[in-house]
């Protein structure tokens, strides 16, 4: 008999699937929200060459099935389909991270499988947190993400970073707030906040220090997953402590962050793929000056980085604003230890916001501005039409999120009411539309003043460069080593902060303390198994005999008792 826990009340039963069981699909506001997050990415990546691959469509089907699942069995089936298809796609890109990725996917599945079928409580939530958290890239199980996400083609990377981690977070929300909601404890939220803040710190720091464009983006995904987890954690904790208005505020931030991240991160991944296609590399140390050859792509990347840096008037600022206010509110009441913890969290969020700005400036400033660092970067040509079209679609969808977050929050109301019944919505204290008007006004006034009072004279000259002379004619872009590289730009931060958190060799703590011990354990197990395999016939007979004796002794002991 297959036992399952009902997730949603009204559902649609399809008669395909297991005999006598079938799929059960249902939609509610939460599922619709995540479908809406997935849809633009699917369209944008579907325009690229990935649509010819069967695994790609299975990957999408898995994600959609997970989100629409009405009961645990369908949910798990969709989740595993998503994992398996994405493993195939990663394998096609790069063998090495594919094994690691498969291991993590199995770990997620192994945690989720029992969690979905045991009674609600702390153990079930811990297993969900481990399973969904590992898939979403929450610290300490995040070290695989910056390796596996950059491996496949650009479209799949985009979908993994923008969509798959959201599906994992969807499971976390679905179970944390709804299915296990009645049994919720404050420590569930605290655990989520701690994991999230560690992800934010490590993700943003590594995004600043990495050199490969796609790895930078993947590290930034770890940061954004951390931000969403912090918001969800505060909401879960506040809900358990019976503070619905704070819970609603934090949830607004988390969900808006998921929406915004689902738009600008696929955009950036598609752009990174186009850069690799045009120049043969995505290492910042070999790029530079790309905006001359690829102005459209450069403009779109600038828009995406604007969102990634969480600057005001960009799509990333409203979620950051809401999350910061949620943390400030959470620090306002409660026990003194928790309040000090939230103060530290605020410092971490400030640090990582500045790091995110630095990482975004580094992508644009080193990769797209300045002088080319290689001939291929100098000869880069504009990206292909479908890629630009997909990126443009995501970019246009960023505009309402950036300028009218209040409207998006209105649309989120049913979801928030579903997750936190009786929550009072507070109006958003950040109004980008008037700010944008003021900014345009200021820029227009500056332009008019320059036109009225300034001269229009302009002359193109060799750059001043601290008084160094003009380079020789055989170096058309000047000496490449006289400009800051990606590594050089990050050096001060590596020196001050990187050494303290990642060590001298910049090894991720998730790698050092989680993956490496697992690897060593794996080697030891393999050796033990090898020893058994190589045993002589006498040793094997001895094993069997010893086992028999032990079994009989145990039997006798049980019967004697």
């Amino acid at each position: 008999m297959v036992c399952y826990s009902r997730v949603v009340n009204q559902y649609l039963a399809l008669s395909i699937g297991l005999p006598g069981h079938g799929f059960h699909l249902a939609h509610d506001p939460l599922a619709l929200l995540f479908l809406a997050i997935l849809a633009p990415q699917i369209i944008a990546t579907g325009l690229g060459p990935d649509r010819k691959s069967v695994a790609y469509w299975f990957f999408i089907a898995g994600m959609v099935l997970t989100v629409l699942a009405a009961e645990a069995f369908t949910l798990l089936l969709g989740f595993e389909l998503m994992s398996a298809a994405s493993w195939l796609l990663v394998l096609r890109g790069d063998r090495k991270p594919a094994t690691l990725y498969a291991g993590i996917a199995m770990f997620s599945g192994a945690c989720l499988l029992p969690a979905l079928f045991i009674p609600p409580g702390g153990i079930a939530f811990s297993l969900i947190l481990l399973g969904a958290g590992a898939k979403a890239g929450l610290a300490p199980l995040h070290a695989w993400l910056p390796r596996a996400h950059p491996a496949p083609s650009a479209g799949v990377s985009a979908l993994m970073s923008g969509g798959m981690v959201k599906v994992a977070l969807y499971i976390l929300i679905r179970y944390g707030f709804i299915v296990l909601g009645a049994a919720a404890q404050p420590w569930w939220g605290t655990a989520l906040i701690i994991a999230g803040s560690a992800s934010v710190l490590i993700g943003s720091l590594r995004a600043m220090l990495e050199v490969e464009l796609k790895t930078i983006l993947a590290c930034s995904t770890v940061e954004h997953v951390g931000l969403i987890a912090v918001g969800l954690g505060i909401a879960l904790r506040a809900k358990a402590l019976d503070d619905p208005s704070l819970a609603a505020l934090a949830l607004q931030g988390a969900l808006l962050c998921a929406i915004a991240h689902g738009l600008f991160k696929p955009l950036l991944f598609l752009g990174a793929g186009a850069v690799k296609h045009a120049t043969g590399t995505s290492s910042l140390d070999w790029l530079g000056g790309l905006i001359r050859g690829m102005p459209k792509l450069g403009g779109l990347m600038l828009a995406g980085c604007f969102g990634m840096a969480a600057l005001p008037l960009g799509p990333g600022f409203a979620p950051e604003f809401l999350l910061l206010h949620a943390v400030i509110n959470a620090a306002g009441t409660g026990e003194i230890i928790a309040r000090i913890g939230f103060t530290a969290l605020l410092a971490i969020l400030g640090l990582s916001a500045a790091l995110a700005l630095g990482a975004a400036v580094r992508i644009i400033g080193i990769g797209f501005l300045g002088r080319p660092r290689s001939l291929r970067a100098a000869a880069a040509e504009e990206a292909e039409q479908p890629v630009l079209f997909g990126m443009g679609l995501l970019g246009i969808l960023c505009i309402p999120v950036a300028l009218f977050p209040g409207l998006i929050l209105l649309l989120l109301n049913p979801v928030i009411n579903q997750l936190i019944p009786g929550a009072a919505q507070t109006p958003l204290g950040y109004a980008p539309a008037p700010l944008a008007t003021l900014l345009l006004l200021a820029a227009g006034a500056t332009y008019a003043a320059l036109k009225r009072y300034g001269t229009k004279a302009e002359r193109e000259v060799h750059a001043f460069n601290g008084g160094f002379g003009k380079p020789p004619a055989w170096l058309p872009f000047g000496d490449p080593v006289t400009q800051a590289t990606g590594t050089g730009f990050a050096e001060p931060i590596q020196r001050v902060l990187g050494v303290a958190i990642l060590g001298v060799k910049t090894i991720d703590p998730g790698e050092l303390y989680v993956l490496d011990p697992l690897r060593r354990l794996n080697v030891q197990f393999t050796r033990a198994a090898e020893r058994v395999r190589r045993a002589t016939i006498r040793q094997r007979l001895a094993f069997v005999f010893a086992a028999l004796v032990l079994f009989l002794a145990a039997l006798g002991f049980v019967q004697g008792a």
Binding site: P312, G358, L450, E460, T482, Q483
Partner: protein
């Protein structure tokens, strides 16, 4: 209706004064600094003359610049100008008051900083890149410290807008407390860093290797450089007004009570002049730090910020509220 009209008039006076007097404030600081060093110093109006001179000069565009070269100064100046409209000067209750959330303000500073960093990386020469990298390093600590300070302010004033915090601190009998003392010290460290003054950066320095903010502007000239200079002057004005509105709000006017405006104007002007002389005296008395000493200096600011919140938590715990 009348309130809104008065708020509009106050906002217009505010913008005229802030945008008009920002270079003068810079002039006062340079003059005071020179006098303290025993020199005559440039006239008070020198910054205006510098700006006028730059506007008349031919802009030299580097051949390695991209199409965005001319856009960055506009973004930096516009974002700073919007921030200047949000921070109250002589009077509270400006028409922009509901927008003046402290976190929005931090975001606008970050936007201006990001555009300046991109301007530094624009032409692809070493000094600009080094300046941008150092600016990123400093910003890590200033953003963390400011956010923790915002927590202290919100806990005391129960509102996140700069305007509301100032009004609460003026009328709310907050009184002197250890918490606010720590917050004040931390805020001063952050303000010195954000405005690029000694001991973090030297706006009058001429050695490229030691520059931070100036290094990013090395490849700019003519009217585009004028925009960056003006934005720097505006930033000094904003930070001084911000510190005056939050920590020294006594005497500042309310936009709805027109009779308080002259008092507010005088009070604001006196505070700016005192602030300019204090800054000059501090700069003369201190030496510029090595770049890698600055994170320690800002780490202290962050620590003071956290301590100011912790003291508040302890106080509420002991007070039993």
């Amino acid at each position: 209706m009348l309130r809104a009209l008065l708020a509009v008039i106050a906002t217009i006076i505010h913008s005229v004064l802030v945008f008009g007097l920002a270079p003068l404030l810079m002039g006062i600081v340079s003059k005071a600094r020179a006098r303290l060093l025993g020199r005559t110093g440039p006239p008070y109006l020198q910054p205006y003359r510098d700006l006028a001179k730059l506007l008349r000069k031919t802009a030299l565009i580097p051949d390695t610049a991209t199409q965005f070269y001319k856009i960055w100064p506009f973004i930096t100046l516009s974002a700073t100008a919007v921030a200047a409209l949000l921070v109250p000067s002589f009077s509270f209750g400006l028409i922009t008051a509901p927008l003046s959330d402290f976190i929005t303000l931090i975001g606008l500073f970050a936007l201006a900083r990001g555009a300046t960093m991109l301007a530094g990386l624009e032409t692809g020469f070493g000094f600009g890149g080094a300046g941008a990298a150092r600016d990123t390093l400093f910003s890590l600590f200033t953003e963390a410290a400011v956010l923790v300070l915002v927590l202290t302010f919100v806990l005391l004033a129960h509102t996140p807008t700069v305007d509301g915090i100032g009004i609460q601190f003026r009328d709310g009998h907050i009184g002197l407390s250890v918490s606010l003392g720590f917050a004040f010290a931390a805020m001063l460290c952050v303000a010195l860093t954000e405005t690029g003054r000694i001991p973090v950066d030297n706006p009058a320095g001429h050695l490229e290797l030691g520059m931070v903010h100036e290094a990013m502007l090395l490849e700019y000239s003519g009217r585009y450089l004028a925009l960056f200079y003006y934005a720097a002057a505006l930033r000094l004005m904003i930070w001084m007004s911000l510190i005056s509105a939050i920590f020294l709000p006594f005497g500042l006017a309310d936009s709805s009570a027109m009779l308080t405006w002259p008092g507010g104007l005088v009070s604001w002007g006196v505070k700016l002049i005192i602030g300019a002389f204090a800054l000059a005296a501090f700069e003369v008395a201190t030496a510029k730090m090595r770049v890698f000493r600055v994170p320690e200096f800002l780490g202290v600011a962050l620590l003071l910020g956290i301590l100011s919140s912790v003291f508040l938590f302890v106080a509420t715990k002991l007070g039993g509220t």
